[in-house]
């Protein structure tokens, strides 16, 4: 099975949101998206999907505060993870499932099943 992995560089924002590490895998009939969400509890995760996007917001149980962040060594606090992903193929949002264990969020997104009749010539 061909596995497509899309890994984008993690970033951070001044509004207190961190971009989580994530991975998108093409599993044939479904797309598997995982997120690494340290300091997060299951009840504080919000997932929203459309036919071609998935958006995850996850509030940390304790905000993380670094006194010396970045080259200028400024104090910065992060309270949540947030990530919006454009999916490589259309999916059926109603059939999506999610689980959370050991800080890893797994979202299984079944692809749209297109049935096409082929006429035998």
């Amino acid at each position: 099975m061909e596995i497509e992995r899309r890994i984008l560089k993690a970033t951070w924002e001044h509004n207190g949101n961190l971009e989580p590490l994530y991975e998108v895998e093409d599993k044939g009939d479904e797309i598997l998206v995982t997120f690494d969400l340290p300091r997060v509890r299951k009840e504080n995760i919000t997932i929203q999907t459309t036919e071609d996007t998935v958006e995850v917001t996850a509030k940390m149980s304790n905000a993380v505060c670094w006194e010396h962040w970045g080259v200028l060594q400024k104090k910065i606090t992060f309270q949540a993870f947030r990530k919006h992903i454009k999916l490589p193929e259309p999916i059926e949002p109603e059939r999506a499932e999610a689980s959370f264990k050991s800080g890893i969020l797994r979202i299984t997104l079944p692809k749209v099943r297109k049935k096409v009749s082929i006429k035998v010539g």
Binding site: K9, L21, K101
Partner: protein
């Protein structure tokens, strides 16, 4: 011709047949997290750096001081050396870097080279305490692993810096082993690093590191390591790390 990779030591460093711990970035950042934790907890001093035109043009500032991201550390009596990096190894630098390091390890009379790495597993989230597997490059190295009752990788491809490190050490008749802790493929894994450190301690009684703090601070370490993990994952895909999931064609 000028060397593609240059290893530069500060003056006056003496080596006493050191054990070398190599923790360059790889899957799960297991080696990087483990080796930097060892350096911090053991209070090792910086003894040099590695520079190359093949590396990304990046320097690091720590406490206002300019440093190269590829650095060398040692204990006070020169019997343990740690090689670590704060940036990913570019694929084109793997051969010259491992060649230069193996050459230097040979020159300083290293007794054993230990690469700490991750072994990506799909079900990592179901594993409480990651297991550690080993590869040795010579009969002597394999015997050392047997003496320490390590589990072996028996069959398959290995890819990346540690694979070439084993080979370059073999060519110089240097004993080298790789310790691979089960880990998340593309997420930083302090738990795997803790398991790896426990294994490294079997080979160097001088390492009296307690991994409790590493496990306690695992979530914060994961947060800090996000960017290096993302860089490393991109670099790893170019190094054919995916081959490690494949089976070789040779029959036995």
């Amino acid at each position: 011709m000028e060397e593609e990779v240059r290893i530069v030591e500060v003056d006056g460093v003496e080596h006493k047949q050191p054990i070398v711990i190599e923790g360059l970035p790889d899957v799960g950042l297991v080696g990087t997290i483990a080796s930097s934790y060892i350096v911090e907890k053991m209070g090792y001093k910086e003894i040099g750096y590695i520079e190359s035109d093949l590396f990304v043009p990046v320097m690091v500032i720590h406490e206002g001081k300019l440093k190269t991201p590829f650095r060398l550390y040692s204990d006070d009596d020169g019997s343990v050396i740690v090689v670590l990096s704060e940036v990913a190894v570019p694929p084109k630098a793997v051969y010259p870097l491992t060649t230069a390091l193996a050459e230097w390890f040979h020159k300083i009379g290293a007794k054993l080279v230990i690469s700490i790495k991750g072994l990506p597993v799909k079900n990592r989230m179901d594993i409480e305490k990651p297991e550690v597997f080993a590869v040795g490059n010579t009969e002597d190295a394999i015997q050392v692993l047997k003496d320490k009752q390590m589990d072996f990788l028996e069959e398959g491809f290995i890819a990346g810096t540690y694979a070439m490190m084993l080979w370059e050490c073999t060519k110089r008749k240097l004993n080298a082993i790789s310790l691979l802790a089960q880990c998340f493929p593309v997420y930083p894994d302090p738990g795997a690093a803790a398991s790896a450190i426990e294994s490294v301690k079997k080979f160097s009684p001088k390492l009296t590191v307690d991994v409790g703090e590493l496990l306690e601070n695992a979530e914060e370490i994961k947060l800090k390591a996000r960017d290096l993990m993302a860089q490393t994952a991109l670099s790893a895909s170019e190094m054919q790390k995916g081959l490690e999931q494949d089976m070789p064609i040779m029959y036995r």
